[in-house]
Symmetry: C2
Amino acid sequence: MTNYELVYFELNGRAGGIRLFLDFLQVPFTDTRIPRQDWPTLKPKIKFGQIPVLKILDKGIELPQSVAILRYLATKHGGLGETPEDNAIIDSFADLIQDTIIAVRPWIWSITKNLGEEEQTKQYKETLIPVIKDNFVPPFLKQLKENGSGFLVGKKPTWIDFMLADVVDRVDKIIPPDGKDFIAPLVSHRDKVFSLPNLEKRLEDRKQYIF
Amino acid sequence: MTNYELVYFELNGRAGGIRLFLDFLQVPFTDTRIPRQDWPTLKPKIKFGQIPVLKILDKGIELPQSVAILRYLATKHGGLGETPEDNAIIDSFADLIQDTIIAVRPWIWSITKNLGEEEQTKQYKETLIPVIKDNFVPPFLKQLKENGSGFLVGKKPTWIDFMLADVVDRVDKIIPPDGKDFIAPLVSHRDKVFSLPNLEKRLEDRKQYIF
């Protein structure tokens, strides 16, 4: 009997970093995966009408929003920063990742809605690459360089490292080898996070997903 | 000499809730307002290229992202929830507000980019109203009803009350009187927050802004 049920689709998506973080923390959870066709029936019953949702069973709480879930798990089980300032910096980078995911949505839609190769190539070049190259990568690189420990904030892994590594892993899968010099240092960070203990099984499982 | 400098435009916008919260906490700050025409020069020098930014002068830290700023101020000066679960619920509602602001962006753009009355009316009807009515208002109403204190979480005002009241105040200004029955309970919440101590001067100042 676990105390947590994580409800999401049969996808990596916005649950990817959460699943990795739970495994790292060795916190057992029920990993419920909703088939796409069941979503319209489930949606009206779920808080905010959104997944992922973390059900905190001993408190009778349904917690939506992936970043709120990661921060809550860190508060309860470890993986916060060491000072209020570290936590504020972690929070600001988490919100930058959220902004980035939203900014590249036209490109994601071009694929998930099957808008054809021409539109996908257009969105790839005009949306994905500029957003990742100009807005996303530079602040993370600067932070990693200034922090110097190999993790984003402080000396130990915190929840933002899992959120970042999860997203960079997807970007790395998508960008062709000849175009990804500019994310190489973030791929090194991902590799460092992915080599932390307790993640092997999850990393094997997630290989099947593009998103 | 204050320890904080808040940098933003001569607007309410994403600094509105922060300014109110700082006044409520009686935390003095330098309220720097950048003229629009100076933004292109300033942008490359600012962390994430985004404002608002809170400069935490005694730590030499530049903190971007409005929600991270509110949470940090609450951590340092009061206005967090009382339990990890309360804080997680607060966080999830903050992210719901962020999602809402992004979802209504086509409507905001129709006004700020002067796209003409026809497009503005279309975006008002097809974007603003459905998002506010269907996705935004119901979860907040449910939470206020279940919590019962008049504030969103727990018995006392927390930072999310200021974030919500600030946004609802703008929605209330924009929606014509005959169409806003559905936000009336959130307007009552705003009125409760706006009647808290130390806010009079700020409330007078912000009247000049639509956004």
